[in-house]
């Protein structure tokens, strides 16, 4: 009970912050629209989807996963800021449930993430993207995205506790960009050199993108000859997420509750 109440209080804290900074909210929500224009219309005209199909339909699952990926950087920056300014120490010196501080962090990320996803779904719809296989698989895709995003949020939380400094976190944040590019999110991996293709196929992001494509019925779903994570994308994404959570949740909890400095 206390854990739930404290976590909810801390989720509300982040929502209040957003309320005071509508600019941040607008930026967060405008980003998908910019990405759709940039990738969908600028690059899209030069990229052909294997097996045919509309590039923007191919692209949207990639953008859904990419924004989930950005949770890593935003969580890292938020946690590092709290840590660097002593807010985390204040929490730790109070009778607050310690797990609640981390759950509040990742919980608020899930709330803002779902909000962002809703906006992206609408933007995608406006650009001709559709979920072709009905509501059930579409909801399953949203579920996969939420699970994947929470893994990213926990990694970011853990990194934020490690770097302890918002400036360092700010500088590290853009590094998540290349990781999302090293995947099948924007281009098919088929034409890449062999070694790069292996890296991209086994990138958890590729599995998540492939899972979204297959659940939404979008083009670009790999055939049976593809690497294992792409041939079984939903299972692979859930396994990847479970593995990452199994590593980073205990690490973050230990880092936060433990001896500290």
């Amino acid at each position: 009970m206390i854990l739930a109440a404290d976590s909810w209080t801390l989720v509300q804290r982040r929502l209040l912050q957003l309320k005071h900074q509508p600019g941040q909210l607008v930026a967060m929500l405008a980003f998908p629209a910019i990405m759709i224009v940039l990738f969908g219309f600028v690059f899209g005209s030069a990229i052909s989807v294997p097996g045919g199909g509309n590039y923007r339909e191919y692209l949207m699952p990639g953008l859904f996963v990419m924004t989930s990926m950005f949770s890593l950087s935003s969580s890292m920056v938020e946690v590092a800021t709290d840590q660097g300014r002593g807010v985390m120490d204040r929490f730790r010196s109070m009778p607050t449930s310690r797990a609640a501080v981390l759950l509040g962090q990742t919980g608020s990320d899930a709330v803002t993430g779902l909000l962002g996803l809703a906006v992206m779904l609408v933007c995608g719809y406006a650009c001709g993207w559709r979920a072709h296989d009905g509501l059930g698989p579409a909801l399953a895709a949203v579920g996969v995205l939420v699970v994947f995003r929470s893994a990213m949020a926990w990694i970011g939380t853990c990194f934020g506790l490690l770097v302890r400094d918002e400036q360092v976190a700010d500088q590290l944040a853009p590094l998540s960009m290349p990781f999302s590019m090293l995947s099948n999110a924007f281009v098919p991996t088929g034409g890449m050199p062999g070694w790069l293709r292996v890296v991209c196929d086994w990138n958890p992001i590729s599995a998540a993108v492939a899972a979204c494509r297959s659940l939404f019925g979008n083009p670009g779903v790999p055939g049976p000859g593809a690497a294992w994570p792409l041939a079984h994308p939903v299972t692979a994404t859930l396994l990847w997420s479970a593995l990452l959570l199994a590593i980073f949740v205990p690490l973050a909890v230990r880092r936060f509750a433990g001896a500290g400095r």
């Binding site: 209080t9 005071h20 300014r85 929490f91 109070m94």
Partner: protein, 317 residues
């Protein structure tokens, strides 16, 4: 257990750095107790251990009767901590910050709101309460931080360098607040590198250097260890010798003369004779005196003399 904070043999190392090397403390309740020390002396580590943020490697400590290692959750319910950072959320208003911390301290939604309003009014923050903390001045931030540590009316308040980096006016405000709290019955453990701060606020201080206590007592008692210094300036070289004789007899040790030769100083270990009497004796001896001054030691003098002594005793013989 009549000590609100007590520590025995606390040790803490970070890699090869020894932060605490067997720290002992016994802090009486309902007072301001000062921890004095240079940067890196271990003050902040001591506070981190006592507020359960860091586990000591050895030794043990109790706060409000609860062991910091075995019963950290009880300690956390009895303390408030205001640190070197103004540890409040800049992206919320002052009122929202206090409500947030109040709810997380188990005051309940309504209780937290009422307590926040009460403290905002009491500490002159009501006008700024609904502005974002990011727009506050340094002094106001620190005051919100201090108020946030008072939400639960803690038995012990830890203030880790509460006025570092503040302008003189804001310092005075923080000092007034601290005095008010002690009048209400709160016990305060204050770390500071400003000796006048300890002098102003603390009824007892422990001087910390290299992770252990090197002296302890009231500021007055620590100052009397050094005694006062008498400075005499004579008008001409012919007066120097007679002045030297008078001062030497009074203090029981030869005075020091400055390179110009006209200024003499001598330290009195205990009580000094009345100044008019000193002047009369110098006059009777035929010394023409231009200026006489009796300088009582500041805590800075005490501190420097103590830490110098400690530094010297560490050099291998």
């Amino acid at each position: 257990m009549n000590h609100i904070v007590s520590a025995e043999g606390l040790r803490k190392r970070y890699g090869t750095t020894t932060a605490l090397a067997g720290l002992d403390l016994a802090v009486p309740a309902h007072t301001v107790y000062g921890l004095l020390g240079p940067n890196g002396a271990g003050k902040s580590t001591a506070v981190r251990v006592l507020t359960t943020l860091t586990r000591p490697d050895a030794g043990h400590a109790t706060v409000a009767g609860h062991d910091v290692v075995r019963r950290p959750e009880r300690v956390r319910s009895s303390i408030g901590l205001a640190g070197q950072h103004a540890a409040v959320d800049e992206r919320l208003t002052g009122r929202e910050n206090l409500r947030l911390f109040g709810r997380l301290s188990r005051l309940g939604r309504r209780g937290a709101a009422a307590r926040a309003d009460e403290l905002l009014a009491r500490f002159d923050l009501a006008d700024a309460a609904d502005r974002l903390v990011a727009t506050y001045s340094g002094g106001m931030r620190r005051r919100v931080d201090l108020v946030a540590s008072l939400l639960t009316a803690p038995a012990v308040l830890f203030l880790d360098e509460p006025t570092t980096g503040l302008d003189p006016r804001s310092r005075l405000e923080i000092w007034a607040t601290v005095r008010e709290l002690v009048a209400d019955g709160t016990s305060v453990l204050l770390t500071t590198q400003y000796l006048d701060e300890a002098d102003q606020l603390a009824s007892a201080v422990a001087v910390i250097d290299h992770g252990r206590v090197i002296a302890e007592g009231s500021p007055a008692a620590l100052k009397s260890r050094i005694g006062s210094q008498l400075d005499v300036e004579v008008a001409d070289a012919s007066s120097v010798d007679s002045a030297r004789t008078v001062l030497g007899t009074l203090a029981g040790r030869p005075p020091e003369t400055d390179p110009g030769g006209l200024r003499l100083s001598v330290a009195f270990p205990g009580a000094t004779p009345p100044l008019p009497e000193i002047v009369r004796m110098l006059d009777n001896a035929g010394a023409v005196v231009r200026d006489v001054g009796l300088r009582h030691p500041s805590l800075d003098d005490v501190f420097l003399s103590l830490t110098e002594k400690a530094a010297r005793s560490e050099v291998p013989a």
